[in-house]
């Protein structure tokens, strides 16, 4: 009885939090994909020294520090640089930059997986580097990286829970407030919180496994 009562009272609030999670998740996903695409093309193995250095520093710093620290730096340290963001902006921006680095590495590995002959053929046909990327390399690379990309999307959605620590009222924060402020049974509330995350992430995982099986067959037939 207690379980049903707590569930009935908490689920409406949790769904509101879920909406904000979806909102933050989708916006930062789009930004992260954009950053990742640029970072994947102008990557660590570029021939231009500046691109190589900036890329190396960006990826190393982002992959070597926890997401929470990056979030705190964006929210608490950037104001001394003159850039003051509200929690929502800080959360979305940090999510985008953090996952953008990982997506850049994923896309880079996809681009480098394309046999060099394709690149040579494109150049011999007189294509500019831009056309080469757009028509030959990227379509194939992006098909190959869809499974690890799906995994990274899962990670992005789970990282939105950490942005709750900056005051964004997304799913995890709503759950915490229900437990702490309204003193609901934490086991019930957090089980529902986990259930909602599960419902978003597990289908993504199943999809990525299916896609990996399907695409592996295709790639080996090249």
């Amino acid at each position: 009885m207690n379980f049903i009562e707590v569930s009935k009272n908490s689920i409406p609030f949790l769904i509101k939090g879920l909406r904000l999670t979806a909102y933050i998740g989708s916006i930062s996903l789009l930004l992260a994909l954009l950053i990742g695409l640029i970072g994947g093309i102008f990557n660590k193995n570029s021939k231009v020294f500046i691109i190589r250095t900036i890329s190396k520093i960006y990826v190393t710093v982002v992959r070597g520090t926890p997401f929470l620290i990056q979030l705190y730096i964006v929210f608490f340290v950037l104001p001394s640089f003159g850039i003051t963001l509200n929690p929502l902006q800080a959360g979305i921006l940090t999510l985008a930059f953090h996952n953008g680095a990982y997506i850049a590495e994923i896309i880079r590995s996809g681009i480098e997986a394309i046999p060099k002959e394709q690149s040579d053929a494109a150049i011999s046909l007189g294509m500019t580097p831009f056309l080469k990327m757009k028509l030959i390399i990227l379509p194939q690379a992006l098909r190959v990286v869809i499974p690890p990309l799906a995994g990274q999307i899962m990670i992005l959605i789970k990282d939105t829970s950490i942005t709750s620590l900056i005051g964004i009222f997304e799913l995890t924060k709503v759950g915490r407030e229900l437990t702490v402020a309204s003193r609901f049974n934490p086991i019930v509330v957090y089980t529902w919180v986990s259930f909602f995350y599960f419902v978003i992430c597990y289908p993504l995982y199943v999809l990525s496994v299916k896609l990996e099986k399907k695409l592996r067959l295709h790639f080996s037939s090249l």
Partner: protein, 218 residues
Amino acid sequence: MTYNLLIVKQYLPIFKEAFFNTLQISVVSLVFALIIGVMVALCRISKNKFIHGIASIYVNAIRSTPLLAQLYIVYFGLPYLGIRFSTFSTGVIALSLNGGAYVAEIVRAGIQAIPKEQTEAALSLGMNYYTLMRKIIFPQVLVIVIPPLVGQLADLVKATCLLSIIAYTELTRAAELVAATSFAPNEGYITSAILYLFLCYIIMGFSNYLEKKLSREK
């Protein structure tokens, strides 16, 4: 931007203690995560549908939910049932359960990477399951699996940052303390970031060293 080295020097003891706390809890959690992970991986490749099912539910549930939610369940949920642990133990429990699922996936992939012919050859020589695992499968799996596992250690180190919510004094909590008591968020968070980078750099270097050593032994 201001970065006052004097403030950093003043709070150096806190950072040092936090650094070693982070390292300590990461290593302890890794040990438990390895134990849980190997057992769960063996369950996942089992033919017994019940064992396979439970292990799969465990792995998929942990991997599809955020570590923060799991931490809240352990930290807020267990006292509700009457079980109280220290902050260190709570952190280890949450990190081990979380890490165990990822280790299980890594180990399972390693085991399934061993060609089936090895298993068939060993069984045809009359080995039982236990000997097969100990003498044939695991030595090869170990070589395959060590680099991703060291990467998992790096992930664990970065995951300890969430333990700051539990008020365990690791690097992120140290940064919060410094930021709060001296009104100097720059010194706090940037120093913590540098220390995390340093820790991950060492772990990555160790991983490269292990990879070279293992590929030489082959």
